[in-house]
Subunit: 458 residues, 2 copies
């Protein structure tokens, strides 16, 4: 057989053992928190019909979908003339399926297909890869994980409150400090747009405001003026958008400006109620702010919106989400509202790596390696190894007859904290020598002593 040069498609990654153990530490923290709040897991197939995916992410999204060639003779519906209609025209003849682009559309598709059987309010979480044919660059991959949780079938603001609680519980558990949870409300943004003479232009308002951090006040103002917003009214609301004031003060200022808008005041009331419910949970939040400039790109949000940013500005948002009033209308099932949020697992990984927050020991690595001088001492190890595993200790034996030095190097590279060494002396005394790989200390132990030494208290 001829040989192939091994290669990886651009924009994709292998996750070796070191990365996997770290990533699993993050994911298991997230899953445990979701479960503590009554969310249940869901997984949907990697491929969806293009009819389900296309048209849901705008023209650019349609371009970025990975499409799968029909199997078998995919050219059977294509003739020479068809080729004239170009890539776009021929696509529907040779491809029916695509890889999922996010977790929201597949979730909506699932809810629409199963709404008669689901137990509403339905609380699901979903952690799966998604694919985008974007140009790969640092920190941007063509395959990456999304991690979403949503409650659908209820308008209760308890859902928004519990999202705030979950975000802070997850980040605190991961020991990520110095973050701010920003909240705002779409109805407040709409009211602000109206106040500035942009009735019905909420989307343009949100798109512009969303760029405030990135392109600065002047350019945002220019963009809004071009769209027809009133320059003087914009000047009057900008101090609010840029305010760093505490919660009671900012709420008052927003009210002053939008008091004339009934929907705007509803949005404000929602935020007040969320703060009120948070207090009832008996939770103190010093890192929650109301940020009227928070817009979130997605136009399908209709209520409260969230975003979590690091105070040191070292990267984009770690989490974001919001309330929407119609998850499944596009699939012919109207009237299912919900609230959801998403955690940026890759970014959380990067922060934890930069701040050295991953724990040294995890249940995913071996606690001990058995090493030995010869065949006889290797045999002597086997029943002891078996005993440790029965006691719930992750343990392994070096499989080959190699120099002790090589066996120790193996343990060291695999971050195994203890090595048991067995030779003639140990066999004679019925004991073993145990070496602490971090301190370098060695001691003789009976087998019973090792079990209690190595057992991690659960």
């Amino acid at each position: 057989m001829s040989t192939t040069k091994p290669s990886l498609p651009k924009g994709t990654r292998d996750f070796g053992p070191i990365q996997m153990v770290k990533r699993n530490f993050i994911l298991s923290t997230i899953k445990e928190t979701f479960q503590k709040y009554g969310f249940q897991p869901l997984e949907t197939p990697s491929m969806e019909n293009l009819s389900v995916l296309m048209g849901k992410y705008g023209d650019e999204g349609d371009q970025l979908l990975f499409k799968i060639l029909n199997s078998g003779d995919f050219l059977k519906n294509v003739d020479k003339e068809t080729i004239d209609i170009g890539s776009k025209g021929i696509l529907s003849k040779i491809s029916e399926k695509g890889l999922r682009y996010d977790l929201t559309v597949p979730f909506a598709r699932y809810v629409a297909m199963n709404h008669h059987e689901l137990n509403f309010p339905f609380k699901r979480y979903q952690i799966q890869p998604v694919w985008r044919a974007d140009r790969p660059q640092k920190g941007r991959y063509r395959e990456f994980f999304q991690c979403d949780a949503d409650v659908v079938g209820t308008d209760s603001l308890i859902c928004e409150t519990e999202i705030i609680l979950m975000i802070s519980e997850i980040l605190d558990h991961l020991k990520i400090s110095g973050y701010t949870i920003r909240i705002n409300h779409r109805k407040i943004l709409s009211a602000l747009a109206s106040v500035c003479g942009g009735e019905g232009l909420e989307n343009d308002f949100c798109i512009a405001i969303d760029k405030l951090q990135k392109i600065g006040k002047e350019k945002v103002l220019d963009e809004l003026k071009t769209k027809g917003f009133s320059a003087s009214k914009l000047d009057s609301i900008f101090p609010i958008l840029e305010s760093n004031e505490g919660i009671p003060a900012i709420l008052e200022k927003i009210e002053e400006v939008i008091a004339i808008s009934e929907p705007g005041m509803e949005g404000l009331a929602d935020l007040s109620k969320i703060l009120d419910i948070l207090n009832k949970y008996d939770s103190k939040f010093s890192n929650l702010v109301i940020d009227p400039s928070l817009a979130r790109g997605l136009s399908y949000y209709t209520g409260t919106i969230f975003e979590v940013t690091l105070d040191d500005g070292s990267m984009g948002s770690l989490s974001g989400g919001g309330r929407y009033d119609d998850l499944t209308g596009v699939f012919g099932v109207p009237g299912i509202p919900g609230t959801g949020f998403s955690l940026g697992v890759d970014r959380i990984y990067d922060v934890m790596e930069a701040r050295d927050l991953f724990p040294e020991k995890t249940s995913e690595t071996s606690q001990v390696l058995f090493s030995f001088f010869d065949k006889e001492s290797q045999d002597y190890c086997l029943p002891i190894l078996s005993k440790l595993r029965k006691a719930g200790i992750n343990a392994e034996i070096y499989p080959d007859l190699n120099k002790i030095k090589k066996q120790l190097a193996y343990a060291d590279r695999k971050n195994i904290p203890f090595v048991i060494i067995v030779g003639d002396d140990e066999i004679k005394s019925g004991e073993v020598t145990i070496k602490n790989m971090i301190s370098g200390e060695q001691e003789r132990c009976t087998i019973r002593e090792i079990v209690s030494k190595l057992k991690i208290p659960s």
Copy 2:
């Protein structure tokens, strides 16, 4: 926006909460066992370059690969004339990537790309979906999970032995009884083929023998005779292939027949050593048999091979694997031998479902639902809910103001074992009522009492 009929691609499945919780029970048992034996997780991308995938699974496999259309203008290298060359010829111009077909080729690609950095012997496990454009039918999907563990970079028979230990530990932990672990050795099969006049025809021999259960002795004999095997010699070895004898007897019988073959005797010695090592682990195996008719289809195995079947014959193998002497040669990195096995997660799921083996309670469902009569009693619940979660109890509150009956129905459908009910009486007494959803019993408790009642001992 026009509406789309929601649909799922043929051969794919959603995994809703009930299936996910069951599947996770299986997967976490498997992962914990792998980790107990020193295996570490690896994940590779869903898409691989077609140059890596093509030619590794035979012509049929190439057909069954899902191919991904190049992004952007995928027709840019195609002209009208090209279309004459048909699906096969045009493929390389419009597609460079495909979805992974199994976990072995991506693992080999990973080892070949990283062999300078890996810590050998390298023990990895990998649990990920694979895709095959097969005709969907009952129990056969186009997207399904594979679950593999391999040790590469060592010839030690300790690896084979530990695979047997892991298989039995996993199945025992899942409470699957009535299974048999069959082992055989490729060198024994080669020797048997030679003995029957089929020198160099081991592959034909294995392919025919593999069908013994399915098509019966007569047809297998016919097939082998057509290939040129000696009828009389075949008659002399068939009693061994069909024997149900215990280990010492079958070993003796095999030896009688293949004693003239040096490699055959090496294979036999390997099996004896594995049995010997198993004894040293102090493990009793009543369900291990040596089955000289076990062939396993894959031609890349070169040593011991395994298969696990249910004694009631209710389905195909639950697990299989073996030793190979060259994982990465095809990628230009020769000399890396290994042993691996694979667990059939879908089949294990089906057996457990049929035998009702899934546990009722898992850490993935809420332990308690808070229900209430009105807004005031809902508010009263919030700090108690917060306290339970802080004590590590999975708990949720019904978010809407609805009839108690509806709230209880929600808990019932979600299999939540306890419901806390709060109304005016409870608020006055500072207690709560707790209802056991299985027995129907209700009692009044203080908040401290609930915590100890609901806490699952870890």
